[in-house]
């Protein structure tokens, strides 16, 4: 694919995504599917058709943050694993050991999180 063809493809994709998103909004506006101005349903929290229980603005427990944090660390690891996997063959045994050392050190962080109960849910 040449550069301009790639741009046409990317542009088309983005365009279609926009059309779909904007289309639903426009269709809804045209069909006038909306709650009356001052109805209670308009201001209520949306929960996929369920009756909402309490407000949406609630304080999260810190454990969500801890889990998200550990997730981001291993997300970074995953990003390194892909280039490692595709270049492993051309680099050879050194690559294997380098990555094993990297993973071993990261594993220590995980051991710490588990041992200190940072991932305990209750």
């Amino acid at each position: 694919m040449s550069a301009s063809e790639a741009w046409i493809a990317a542009g088309t994709f983005t365009g279609v995504a926009f059309v779909i998103a904007a289309g639903t909004l426009i269709a809804a506006a045209l069909l006038r599917v909306r709650a009356r101005k001052h109805s209670e349903a308009r201001t209520r929290t949306y929960e996929c058709g369920e009756e909402p229980d309490g407000g949406a603005w609630v304080r999260f427990h810190p454990r969500y943050y801890l889990v998200a944090l550990v997730f981001v660390i291993f997300d970074v690891e995953a990003v390194f694993l892909l280039p490692w996997a595709v270049s492993l063959r051309s680099v050879g045994a050194v690559a294997l050991w380098s990555m094993l050392a990297f993973l071993a050190i990261l594993l220590l962080g995980w051991v710490y999180a588990v041992k200190k109960g940072a991932l305990r849910w209750v």
Binding site: L108, Y112, K115
Partner: protein, 472 residues
């Protein structure tokens, strides 16, 4: 692998503390502090016994006399910091002592690698490894609101300055096409791209934040005031030294061909830092804030050594760092003892200290004299050496300005020194007793300050030697 031995030892020590922390019951964590402190002393001795100099990874990592000097400063600062923290850590955060020493060691590892790094990626990663644990350690006293505030300011400024540094370095890479400092040094003179100049100046701004040079200093007093005192002594010395290691490698070697372009900026930073640090220190009533501003002023003196751009200037900078290490860590150790006894960091708590604990007052007097640069303690030779080197480099008016401001400095140091001996203690003040670890740290720092003061010759010689082999 041999040049890496010191850093590998620090990493091994950190691993040891980590494993011991996970296996130990939470009541016996004090031992980890002993382990960290003794381990660092052992590694320090190792640097004198083994000859490990050389480079690795194609020159990206080097153990030269300069790196060795810095590593010794870091190791000593770390060992003293762990020692001073032994008692306070057990009182303030008994169950998190393991993490405290582990993060201290990891930060130390980052500094140590940074002082050897001659490649931009390694510089950035080790720089972050140094900084990140420092933010956490500043926030370690969770019960104190000031601690959280100080840590947040430190973190926000640190993250911003890292972004600025990274952007600057990316421009340098873009203009030179290499991340190796020796190659940048070889190419920089021939490149006429304004991108390179912009990158060099942007990087300087980012690093100025890190060493707390004016006008990038506003986080320093709040962070020092909020952080636990045993840790501030380390924070005031080791990361600053690491910042200077990087400044020397970047601005005196890699970017040296561009010195006409960045010299004015560096000079402006230096003058501002000297003036603002010394003047604002005059009005402080909290000892930690006073030492923070005095620390900013000391950074200014070190920048004078950098500005000389000669081997002599770098050598005197190294000497200054060593003198500053003992003086400042010692001073904060005294602040730690007085703060623990009187629950206050106000300078009024130092009135009549000589009657509450004569030895402590004597130690504080020695450190204050050294900070002020009074003959004949370590700080005197440090300032003297910097000024002589700058004079030789032709920075005459800067030397005169520095000397004038040093007199201002003497005023606020001696004001405290006077009140140690001549004022009456506050009502109801009890005699102060200090624990064995703190006493040991004070003895080490005090002896070193006096010894360097009486017999500075070998220190000068080694420092000049380390710098000469570096700037050909």
């Amino acid at each position: 692998m041999q040049p890496l031995l010191i850093d590998l030892s620090i990493a091994a020590l950190a691993l040891l503390v980590f494993v011991a922390d996970l296996l130990m019951p939470s009541e016996e964590k004090r031992g980890l502090g002993h382990l960290a402190s003794a381990g660092l002393v052992l590694i320090l001795l190792l640097t004198f016994v083994l000859d490990m100099q050389g480079d690795a990874f194609g020159g990206a990592y080097v153990l030269d006399p300069l790196a060795l000097w810095f590593k010794r400063v870091f190791l000593l600062a770390g060992a003293l910091a762990a020692l001073i923290a032994l008692d306070p850590a057990e009182q303030a955060f008994a169950r998190r002592q393991g993490e405290y020493y582990l993060l201290l060691l990891l930060s130390l590892l980052g500094m140590s690698i940074l002082s050897s790094a001659r490649e931009l990626l390694l510089i950035v990663v080790s720089f972050e490894l140094m900084s990140l644990p420092l933010y956490v350690l500043t926030a370690f006293t969770k019960s104190s609101k000031l601690s959280g505030e100080g840590a947040l300011k430190f973190y926000l400024v640190g993250a911003t300055s890292l972004a600025i540094t990274l952007f600057g370095l990316s421009l340098v890479f873009g203009a030179t096409g290499t991340t190796m400092l020796p190659e940048i040094a070889a190419n920089a003179g021939a490149i006429r791209s304004p991108l390179l100049v912009l990158g060099v100046l942007t990087t300087l701004a980012g690093l100025a934040f890190k060493i707390g040079a004016v006008p990038f200093h506003m986080w320093v007093p709040d962070t020092y005031e909020g952080a636990a005192t045993p840790f501030v002594g380390f924070l005031a010395v080791a990361p600053k030294a690491a910042g200077f290691a990087l400044l020397v490698r970047l601005y005196l070697v890699a970017f040296a061909p561009l010195s006409v372009r960045f010299q004015p900026a560096l000079l402006a930073l230096c003058v501002l830092t000297l003036v603002v640090g010394n003047v604002l220190a005059l009005t402080q009533t909290n000892i930690k804030r006073l030492l923070a501003y005095s620390g900013i002023a000391q950074i200014g003196y070190m920048m004078v050594g950098l500005l000389a751009q000669t081997g002599e200037g770098v050598g005197m900078l190294l000497f200054y760092l060593a003198a500053y290490l003992f003086t400042n860590v010692g001073a904060f150790a005294v602040v730690c003892a007085v703060g623990a006894a009187s629950g206050s960091d106000d300078i009024r708590a130092y009135r009549g200290l000589s009657r509450r604990n004569p030895a402590l007052a004597l130690a504080m007097l020695v450190f204050l004299l050294s900070l002020g640069g009074i003959p004949f303690v370590a700080g005197f030779w440090a300032k003297m050496g910097i000024f002589i080197a700058a004079w030789h480099a032709g920075l005459h008016w800067l030397v005169l300005l520095g000397a004038g401001l040093a007199v201002v400095g003497v005023y606020y140091y001696l004001r405290i020194a006077r009140s140690l001996y001549l004022d009456d203690p506050e009502e109801g003040a009890q005699p102060i007793t200090i624990g064995a670890p703190l006493r040991l740290a004070l003895i080490v720092c005090g002896t070193a300050v006096v010894l360097i003061g009486i017999w500075p010759r070998p220190w000068f010689d080694t420092a000049l030697d380390a710098a000469k082999s570096f700037l050909h």
